[in-house]
Symmetry: C2
Subunit: 342 residues, 2 copies
DNA sequence: TAATTTTGTGAAAACATTTGCAAAACTATT
DNA sequence: AATAGTTTTGCAAATGTTTTCACAAAATTA
């Protein structure tokens, strides 16, 4: 039981209680093999009795690692980022790291400010979401030379090491799937694109592929819908209520697709008989929804794990180079898409 | 542009460049009003030129706040915890705090270990999920006397200040709703209960209410299903495929309810005509799903915000007492539940 | 028994800051 | 121009730890 009558338990008070010097207590934690068994036991009991907890801040100012990694996502409250963060956190926790987590809400100024805060805390590494960032952000990272990883998106020409899936390719895959099924009257629903290179890339992948096949998307079928099931349901109902309606809706992510599915059901339209609906992401639940959602799998857990592993390795081995890693997106055709009726 | 030829930019190198003493640079950050305009400008330019970033670790060992708050959830990868964490993070970020986030996966030993790690980092406060924790966890917090809040669940007899919803009451509300609709053949589906007082409380609320009304739940209709749409869909299909089937299914949370909904659809049963399905939580999407889910709203965002506000206040005002706050659960009847057929 | 090696421990310097106090530099007043 | 009052700055001590170096004690070898 800890004894808190001695206000502050620092290394010195422990040393006194154990009748050794502070250096010996330090060694007890950092190089216990150098101590005699009996001293180790004495210190052990003193530590316990005083409820002493080491002060990482004091260690950190010696240039010793802080044991923290800064993770910066647009928002935590997204099925998909939550999943990535969880996987990342687990991966680095194995190596003793704790994460400092913050979100910037797709605001570039915010991102820079948070990054600075991370650096004040002397994080041992940072993770940013997406490939594109303010020039100031890149410069800050480079000037501190601390390992950094960009997650979620992938491109060979990224300015920093990136571990993620090629979102352009994901868009291409789902568009090809819809084209292969014979659809030509296609609607597209994407989230707002500002500060979101993942969404931009997906959209570009979809649009380019459709255009190349001569299946231009008419302007009124190009929707920009905020990331929310309710907004997507609403917009889908609007578009499906016209007499002229698309035979397929390509959604920028599975949340939008889920809303679209509900919207079609609300319009008493059959999916996929009346309209095919597809997403991107393969979120949890996408395979169980009725009808099961056709989508493109982006391996969130794998991305988080690999990023965590790579960063932890770079930090502990002081090997500053992290290799790009492309986690391939993969088409997952399910029940929500079918051959177009003529 | 920062000039990184000078390897390490510390307060002293900045001081030299600005031709002042280190103390003056320190004051530049902490009490700028004490400096003459001209010196302030000189330091400003030196800071910029060197790309100096303050070292919070060095400040922290002076007993100055670390500016971090430890947040400990069972898992980040839950719609609901993600939402709470986001709200909490935003609330404390306003006061300059960054969160250290970790998960324990419903493992009590883990929880203690993570808490210790938080304390090594000298967090200014901690947030734990739920009311019940190892005795060692409570003792550790008490011995450090640092502000702590238990979130998500609520009880007047909690050992530490708690901000959350009474989950027992939530269970009671949804059970009453189902009873009011005339149901007596009721199935219950709850997640595993170990280390999860929220689920335990909800279940108790439901079971007690049903029992009091004489609507005992037969053993084979008491399901324990892991938190996952697919597991819930599977279990629901199993239970609905028997000729003897319940007229209502009460689920411990909206994810399970969503899976149950899909399961009913897969069995070609109408909801709510053939079977009523209800959840607890009012997750995002629960109001848009077809049919819209009857559930009990637990105000996640509010809980996160209030907890953040309370903790930030306790830390900055050194006012160690945080008041309990009960965020009332509220029945939200929607389309997925209806009067029982006789 | 003496000489040598190994092991265990302590003293002091270093780390990057903050802060109380006192000295120096300005301003205003006469 | 001298004095008093005010503002601004620097010095030195303090913070909680790790690390290097040195030395004594113990163990081993000759």
């Amino acid at each position: 039981m800890s004894d808190n009558n001695s206000k502050k338990a620092d290394i010195i008070s422990v040393a006194k209680a154990a009748k050794v010097s502070a250096s010996t207590v330090s060694r007890y934690f950092n190089h216990p093999e150098l101590l005699k068994n009996s001293t180790r036991r004495r210190i052990d009991s003193a530590v316990r009795k005083q409820g002493y907890i080491r002060n990482r801040a004091a260690q950190t100012i010696h240039g010793i690692r802080s044991g923290t990694i800064g993770v910066l996502v647009p928002t935590i409250d997204h099925a998909i980022f939550a999943e990535v963060v969880q996987a990342f956190s687990d991966a680095v926790a194995e190596h003793g790291f704790t994460i400092l987590l913050a979100s910037h809400g797709y605001n570039a100024k915010q991102e820079y400010a948070v990054l600075r805060k991370f650096l004040e805390h002397r994080v041992d590494g940072v993770v940013l979401t997406g490939l594109e960032h303010d020039e100031a952000v890149f410069q800050l990272i480079e000037s501190q030379d601390i390992p950094a990883v960009l997650i979620w998106n992938h491109s060979d020409s990224a300015r920093l090491p990136c571990i993620g899936a090629d979102n352009r390719r994901a868009g291409q895959l789902i568009a090809e799937h819809i084209l292969d099924l014979g659809h030509r009257d296609i609607a597209c629903m994407f989230p707002p694109m500002v500060g979101n290179d993942r969404a931009q890339d997906r959209r570009m992948g979809v649009m380019d592929t459709l255009a190349k096949a001569g299946a231009q998307v008419r302007a009124e079928w190009q929707l920009e819908t905020i990331y929310s099931i309710s907004a997507s349901k609403r917009d889908t109902i609007k578009i499906l209520s016209n007499e002229m309606r698309p035979s397929a809706i390509i959604c920028g992510n599975d949340i939008l697709a889920t809303g679209a599915l509900y919207g079609a059901q609300a319009c008493v339209l059959g999916v996929p008989q009346d309209v095919s609906i597809v997403g991107i992401g393969d979120f949890k639940g996408s395979s169980e929804i009725e009808p099961a959602l056709s989508t493109v799998r982006l391996p969130a857990v794998r991305i988080g794990q690999e990023a965590g592993r790579a960063l932890a390795h770079a930090i502990t081995q002081k090997e500053s180079s992290i290799a790009n890693l492309h986690c391939l997106p993969e088409l997952v055709p399910r029940a929500s898409s079918a051959i177009a009726k003529r």
